[in-house]
């Protein structure tokens, strides 16, 4: 297997305002070398779209911003370790990593 073949193409679905901020339409494709973890995906996302830095994870702590949630394969990954491997379907690009703004207020 070539070195390039080991890199996963991970799909990330961003909330509306972050898609606008990054000037993209639809899902984002980011390349992630295994293991495909939440941290690795977000690192790749922010490297490709630096305007998103600080909007998903806090600048100082790297922690998820309070009103955002992460979902993958119909499971809530918001409280999972950022170093846990995401589901195979996400790593294979079959399912997206969903970043969702919490529905709050009226």
């Amino acid at each position: 297997m070539s070195e390039g073949a080991s890199v996963s193409q991970v799909r990330v679905a961003l909330p509306y305002h972050l898609r606008n901020l990054a000037r993209i339409e639809g899902d984002v494709l980011v390349e992630v070398a295994p293991p495909v973890t939440l941290r690795a995906v977000l690192d790749a996302l922010e490297a490709g779209y630096p305007m998103l830095r600080g909007t998903i994870r806090e600048y100082e702590t790297g922690e998820r911003r309070a009103f955002l949630r992460f979902f993958a394969c119909e499971e809530d990954w918001s409280l999972a370790s950022p170093d846990a491997e995401l589901p195979e379907a996400v790593a294979a690009g079959k399912e997206p990593l969903l970043i969702i703004g919490a529905i709050a207020g009226g």
């Binding site: 606008n20 490709g48 830095r53 600080g54 909007t55 911003r65 009103f67 709050a104």
Partner: protein, 390 residues
């Protein structure tokens, strides 16, 4: 011919209103950054095409945007607008407001229940570009601190002497948070800066921000255990005429105040105002003794008295006030005018502008004698700034 540009920050985006010097016909552009809270936007004195914006969201945090063409296009300073940036880590961190933890002890501040609480960055309330350098800009933030960028907003550093001077444990959030909302630069003395915080009070530096002095002598705040304490006052806004940098006017929570000695001493000038609660205050561009406030009924009822929206003007530096009502709602008006939502232009006949939480932006092209709405149905207006263009 001169023209004006009015920068309007709202709960759901930014708007740029432009007109020629007659200020009768207006063009409205926006919303920019639709759906985001725009706490403040302000243009540079040194380069009016340079405009800085505080764009914020409870979900996504704080962003800084910048325009170099008078609001036609925008970008986060130092970052590409398109994907696929140059390789390597970004050299600019335009949205990073990190408190200086390396400086001398910066303590904690007082929480609502009287306990001590660590500083936590929430948002930028006010942006104040340098008077001489388009790339130098100050930001007042919540929790209260002052930041400066000297590279056009690409990177920000805290001016930590403000939080570090010792009274931090007595600062406390007002109802809207503990924001540093007022930054006034002195054109005659680059080393002097005034700032104000809710609810800590007003402060001044005379050495470019290294050391700071509380300037609250004469303020009386009956909600405080010691109503005349050195700090803890809920200052809503401060205004200065650039030709007289030692004369300050303040809208405190209650009371309109005046200082003639750079904030060393204050005296009340509420005079015949029907209520001296309010948020906004500003000074006429050409008449240093002419000032404007919008009286609000009380701290419990944030709307005009009797449903009648009135600007009050004093031509005597306070004490004697006259209501200005021509063109403003005569009844059933229950909006608020927030602290940064009033501004003036510098045309020969000074223009006055203010925005309301009901989404109206009113303009007067005759120093306040009469008013007309430029727009009526924007989102709630958080800030208004005027630019006079040649």
């Amino acid at each position: 011919m001169s023209s004006v540009r009015v920068l309007v920050g709202t709960r759901k985006g930014a708007f740029v209103l432009t007109s020629d010097g007659k200020r009768k016909d207006w063009q409205v552009s926006g919303p920019f950054f639709a759906g985001w809270e725009i706490y403040h936007m302000k243009g540079s004195e040194a380069d009016p095409e340079r405009i800085y914006v505080s764009q914020t969201s409870g979900w996504f945090g704080q962003l800084i945007q910048r325009s170099d063409d008078g609001g036609k296009t925008w970008r986060q300073p130092g970052l590409p607008n398109e994907a696929i940036p140059p390789p390597g880590p970004p050299q600019a961190l335009p949205n990073r407001f990190a408190y200086d933890t390396a400086a001398k002890p910066l303590t904690t501040h007082q929480w609502y229940d009287g306990t001590q609480h660590p500083w936590e960055f929430k948002r930028v309330w006010h942006i104040e570009p340098s008077l001489t350098d388009p790339d130098t800009v100050y930001a007042g933030v919540e929790d209260a601190a002052l930041f400066r960028s000297s590279d056009g907003g690409e990177n920000w550093q805290e001016i930590s002497g403000l939080r570090g001077h010792g009274t931090g444990p007595q600062w406390q959030p007002g109802a809207g948070g503990m924001g540093l909302h007022t930054i006034i630069l002195d054109a005659t003395n680059p080393q002097r800066i005034y700032i104000a915080i809710s609810a800590a009070g007003a402060f001044r530096t005379d050495d470019g921000g290294v050391t700071w002095k509380p300037i609250n002598k004469g303020l009386v705040s009956n909600f405080m255990p010691n109503p005349t304490a050195e700090v803890g006052h809920c200052v809503h806004h401060v205004a200065m005429h650039r030709a007289r940098p030692d004369v300050l006017f303040m809208q405190k929570h209650w009371d309109v105040m005046r200082s003639d000695d750079a904030g060393e001493n204050w005296r009340e000038v509420s005079g015949n105002l029907p209520t001296d609660f309010g948020f906004a205050i500003d000074v006429h561009a050409h008449e240093p003794e002419t000032l404007y406030v919008v009286p609000i009924k009380s701290d419990s009822e944030h709307f005009p008295l009797d449903g009648k929206l009135r600007v009050y003007r004093s031509r005597t530096g306070g004490e004697e006030w006259e209501p200005l009502a021509k063109g403003l709602p005569e009844k059933d008006c229950y909006v608020n005018v927030l602290r940064d939502a009033m501004a003036v232009d510098r045309l020969d006949e000074c223009g006055i502008y203010f925005g309301t939480t009901g989404g109206q932006v009113y303009a007067s092209a005759d120093s306040g004698d009469s008013w007309t709405p430029i727009v009526r149905d924007l989102p709630a207006v958080l800030s208004v700034e005027g630019q006079t263009l040649n």
